[in-house]
Each structure stands twice: as structure tokens, then as C-alpha cells.
């Protein structure tokens, strides 16, 4: 059984804008799946249709074997959603927000209070349980939405840019939290603009652009498609003349900084051999950009090139 199966899902809004052009997606139980795409690609529309917040134009959705059209209650019981925008009552307290949400899922108040304590505690919000929610920081508000999405203990958690706008420390602690709940069996679908986040967390990735899935594969497979990487080398000594690095494309970014493109024919060992020959000492090295980011841009650009050719 799959956690989520989307078949030929299409959505055209009342204003005529087509957000989804018949996408297909299959998410395995226990998976950690990333849905990537530029702004307006259709990620949020797809997610909101699965969560019954947007009506589909056509297509079919199944969640843990239940069809959304015929068994919406069962589908909703299985899904927890963390939306992009803050959407809780900011005049209410975190504890009330969680307990009320549990009530909407038919969970008794006594059990809801226990769960609220558990999830607010795990997300380090228990001390804030009686504060008015609008006084919480941006990161706290995001964590409150995660706690709310988990209060009915769903088997499928959908995270729509859950770490947008939070600082790196909180983001990393949230990653750890997501990894833990995924390890405990919750299937997770994540959309994010931080491609580093997707690379770190997800085992599968789908790339969506202009309402179509342009790539759907394992993260490792996708990254293997990237046949070249750009490295930035900080050098111990200033370079007074152009180094002779045959077979590599490179450019001087300053007297101590060298930017080099390393492809799969010329590995990084070959590069260091050449640098040794030229007596160039490297003090540090880093990737110029996130690998997934580079690949993402390439996929999106290549698709655009194809559509421009056709037009």
C-alpha cells in the first residue's frame, strides 16, 4: 500500500489559470518525499487539494488506500498538514489551539490535553502554552503549526515550507524532529525552497514546474545526474600568473581565490595532482553552490528551453 497516490490531478482556477496539468505521484509508506519547484509551480495547489482545501478539476487521490472523493473522512484522519502561512487563531493560546484541533478530529479532551503536553513539550513550546499566540516568535508559530498537525497522530504529514523564515539553529532542530518522526513511521511530504533541506532530509524527490512533474526519482539518483561541480579554492599564496591547469575550466576570483569546474572525467584527485605540480597550496575548499540547487536550476531551465523551441 502507498501512503499517497495521485493520478492525473489537474486544477484550473475560476480565473482560468491552470495550476496543475495532470500530475502523477506515488509516495511509499514511511517515505520522506520532497516536492520541489519554483514559486507558482503548483506545489501548494497539489498539497491543498490532497488536504481538501482546494477542489480538484479532475484526477484521483488515494491516501492509505482511501479515495478522497468517496472516503474523505478516512483520508482526512490520515493526514496532518503544516501550511505555508500562519493560519491559527492568533488571539488564542497554543494549548487551546491544539486541544480544539484534537476535538475537531473527535479526540476526547482528556487525551487531547495529554497529547498537547507531549507535542508542545517536544517542540519546546510547553512554557508558552498559555500565552496569546500572536506574541510568539516566527519560529514558535511554525512549531505550533507542526504540533497542531501532529495532535491527531497522522500517518502522513505534509509540510509546506515548514522552516521558511526561521533561523538556522531552529531549522536544524526542526530537521532533527522531522527525521525522528519519520524514523518512527510517519510518512512525510515536504515542500521547501531550501534545497539543502530537501537534500538533507528526503529520500525521494519530485520536481514540479508549470503544473507538471518534470522529475520524480530517488534523491541519490537525482544527484548522480549532476556530472560536474564547481569548487572554490582558497589558496595559501597569491597567484602572480595564470596557473597551468590543463583539462579544467577555471577562473581567478581574486589573487588567492580560484574557481574550478570539476567534471566526472577529471576527478578532484586529478585536480590536486595538477595543483601540486604547479606548487599551488590550497588552504580550504568549498562547493560553489548546493548540488541539488544546481541540478534543480538545470532541470527547470532545460524544460524552459524545450518549450521555447516548441513555441
Amino acid at each position: 500500500m502507498s501512503a499517497l497516490i495521485i493520478k492525473n490531478l489537474a486544477k484550473t482556477y475560476a480565473n482560468g489559470f491552470t495550476a496543475l496539468k495532470g500530475i502523477n505521484l506515488k509516495v511509499d509508506v514511511g517515505g520522506f518525499y520532497s516536492l520541489l519547484g519554483p514559486n507558482g509551480a503548483g506545489k501548494t495547489t497539489a498539497i491543498r487539494i490532497v488536504c481538501s482545501l482546494v477542489e480538484k478539476s479532475s484526477g484521483n487521490i488515494e491516501v492509505f488506500g482511501y479515495n478522497l472523493a468517496t472516503h474523505p473522512e478516512s483520508v482526512k484522519m490520515h493526514i496532518g498538514m503544516v501550511p505555508q502561512e500562519v493560519n491559527f487563531n492568533t488571539f488564542d493560546t497554543p494549548l487551546n489551539i491544539l486541544v480544539n484541533q484534537a476535538g475537531f478530529y473527535g479526540i476526547k479532551r482528556s487525551i487531547a490535553l495529554q497529547r498537547a503536553k507531549k507535542y508542545l513539550g517536544e517542540l519546546k513550546l510547553w512554557d508558552k502554552r498559555d500565552d496569546i499566540s500572536r506574541t510568539l516568535s516566527g519560529g514558535m508559530k511554525r512549531r505550533l503549526m507542526i504540533a497542531r498537525a501532529l495532535i491527531h497522530e497522522p500517518e502522513l504529514l505534509i509540510l509546506d515550507e515548514p522552516t521558511a523564515g526561521v533561523d538556522i539553529e531552529i531549522r536544524r532542530s526542526m530537521w532533527k524532529f522531522f527525521k525522528n518522526i519519520n524514523a518512527n513511521g510517519t510518512t512525510i511530504i515536504l515542500t521547501t525552497h531550501y534545497l539543502e533541506e530537501a537534500e538533507n532530509l528526503c529520500r525521494n524527490v519530485a520536481i514540479i514546474d508549470e503544473g507538471m512533474i518534470i522529475e520524480d526519482t530517488r534523491m541519490g539518483e537525482l544527484l548522480r545526474q549532476l556530472k560536474q561541480e564547481t569548487f572554490v579554492l582558497n589558496l595559501e599564496n597569491e597567484l602572480t600568473e595564470d596557473p597551468n591547469l590543463k583539462g579544467f575550466t577555471y577562473s581567478m576570483m581574486g589573487e588567492n581565490v580560484l574557481e574550478i569546474l570539476v567534471d566526472e572525467d577529471h576527478g578532484i584527485n586529478d585536480l590536486f595532482e595538477l595543483l601540486n605540480k604547479e606548487n599551488i597550496k590550497v588552504s580550504s575548499l568549498r562547493n560553489k553552490s548546493n548540488r541539488l540547487e544546481e541540478l534543480f536550476m538545470r532541470l527547470v531551465d532545460s524544460k524552459k528551453d524545450i518549450s521555447e523551441e516548441h513555441s
Partner: protein, 257 residues
């Protein structure tokens, strides 16, 4: 439909609504108390003493049931329209839409919240009225049933208004341009027997006339209309408005893209 789940969800909405009403009591309880006190002082005491007897009762006694009903109607409507539109505006309506509770539960929960506020304010206005005049309860069953059913009608109307509303202005239009005129022209302050024939006839198309008169009949035992018509009108409105609310919510009008 899972009955137990929906019962808990219903209770959750009602509890949330009651807490909301009590938390913002300065907006929900105090204003109607002040307004209705002014009605009793100005219309009942100052002007009423010159009007004399109406329908066999002092003017103060005559208008008291109508004023109580007016406060129930406006508060039942106002509670649902402001709470549901507030949830739409703030986005937290999505908390309910992603949950497995049925559409009927969402509607009934909000209606119950509106009815509770309407009846709470109505009880408070009754206490205020009793400090100005003596009121009997001639027909308790009619009094309580008609006030409850009228409250349900206006809570549902508030729900539909909230579904269609896109901005805060939209939740003030219906109360200002429809409910308030119909209430004032619904026999709260006068007996329609005082009107010329044409306006007596026209008044009979105003549903609030039936509610006010049935309620007055329950308390004072006097009415301008046949009470059975009042029940027919109120029950018909309940069926129509509930069906409309249900269909609109199912279609996602105003809440789903």
C-alpha cells in the same frame, strides 16, 4: 459518518464559541445591555408614559417582548457572522476544513454558539426589562420554543452571510440594511392593527413580525397574528436556511478555491 467523532467536534466548536463570547464580553454582552436599557428608558418610560395602553397592556409591557426578541435576533446573527467570517479572514477555518468532521457539524456547532449568545443576551435583557416593568409568562412553552427557533433562524442567516462575505464591510450590510429595518417594522414598538390596511398587509411579509408577535403572545397572551403561522414561517426558514448552508458549505462557496 462517525457519530462519536462529530459529537466531540460539535462540543468543541460550541465550547470555543462560548469561551470567545465570554472572553470578549465587553463587545458581546455589554453593548446590547446598554442599547436595550436605553430603549426601555426612552421608548418605555419617557415616550411610553404618554402613549398609554397598547393591546391591553402598558406601552412598556407591550414593547418589552419585542425588545428582548430583537436582542436575541441581532446577537444570534452577529455571533455567527463575526465568528465564522473571523475564522475565514484569519485562515483558521482551515483547521475545521482539513478535519474529518462533517459539514453539518460545522454548521450546527456555529449555530449552537450563536443561539447560546442570543439566549444569554436575551436573558440579560429580560432581567433589565423586569427592572422597568412586570412581565408574566402566560405560555412558557410558546415563549421558549419561539425564541429558540427564531435564534436558530438568524444564526443560520449569519452563517450564510459569513460564507459569502469577502471583507468586513460585507458582514455589516445585511444587519444594517435588512435585519434592522425588518425588526423595527416587525411590530416591536407598535401593534400592526394601528397601521392602514395596505401596511398591515405588507407587514405580513416580514418574518420578524411573526417571531415578535408569537413571543409577545407567550409572555403577555396577546398577538396581532395567528401563532400557528409563526411556527410555520419559522420552521420553513429553518429548513430553507439549513439546506442552503449545507449546500454552500459542501460546494465550498467562499471558503474553498
Amino acid at each position: 459518518m462517525n457519530l462519536n467523532l462529530n459529537m466531540i467536534a460539535f462540543y468543541t466548536i460550541v465550547r470555543k464559541e462560548v469561551i470567545r463570547v465570554l472572553r470578549i464580553w465587553i463587545q458581546t454582552i455589554v453593548p446590547p445591555a446598554i442599547t436595550m436599557t436605553l430603549y426601555f428608558v426612552i421608548f418605555g418610560n419617557l415616550i411610553g408614559s404618554r402613549v398609554g395602553v397598547m393591546g391591553g397592556y402598558s406601552y412598556m409591557q407591550f414593547i418589552a417582548p419585542g425588545i428582548i426578541m430583537m436582542s436575541v435576533i441581532t446577537n444570534s446573527y452577529g455571533n455567527v457572522v463575526s465568528s465564522f467570517f473571523g475564522a475565514k479572514y484569519g485562515g483558521h477555518i482551515e483547521e475545521m476544513l482539513v478535519s474529518p468532521m462533517s459539514n453539518a457539524t460545522i454548521i450546527l456547532g456555529h449555530i449552537a454558539g450563536g443561539v447560546l449568545r442570543g439566549l444569554l443576551v436575551g436573558a440579560m435583557v429580560t432581567i433589565i426589562a423586569l427592572s422597568f416593568t412586570k412581565l408574566e409568562l402566560k405560555h412558557p412553552l410558546i415563549t421558549f420554543s419561539i425564541v429558540f427557533l427564531s435564534s436558530v433562524v438568524f444564526a443560520m442567516a449569519g452563517f450564510i452571510n459569513a460564507l459569502y462575505a469577502k471583507k468586513f464591510d460585507d458582514i455589516a450590510i445585511i444587519p444594517t440594511f435588512i435585519i434592522t429595518p425588518l425588526t423595527y417594522l416587525g411590530g416591536v414598538f407598535y401593534s400592526i392593527n394601528l397601521l392602514p390596511d395596505f401596511w398591515q398587509f405588507a407587514s405580513k411579509f416580514n418574518p420578524i413580525l411573526y417571531m415578535v408577535n408569537a413571543f409577545r403572545y407567550g409572555i403577555l397572551g396577546t398577538s396581532d397574528i395567528d401563532i400557528s403561522y409563526a411556527y410555520i414561517v419559522v420552521c420553513a426558514f429553518i429548513v430553507i436556511l439549513f439546506t442552503l448552508s449545507f449546500v454552500l458549505l459542501k460546494r465550498g462557496v467562499g471558503i474553498r478555491d
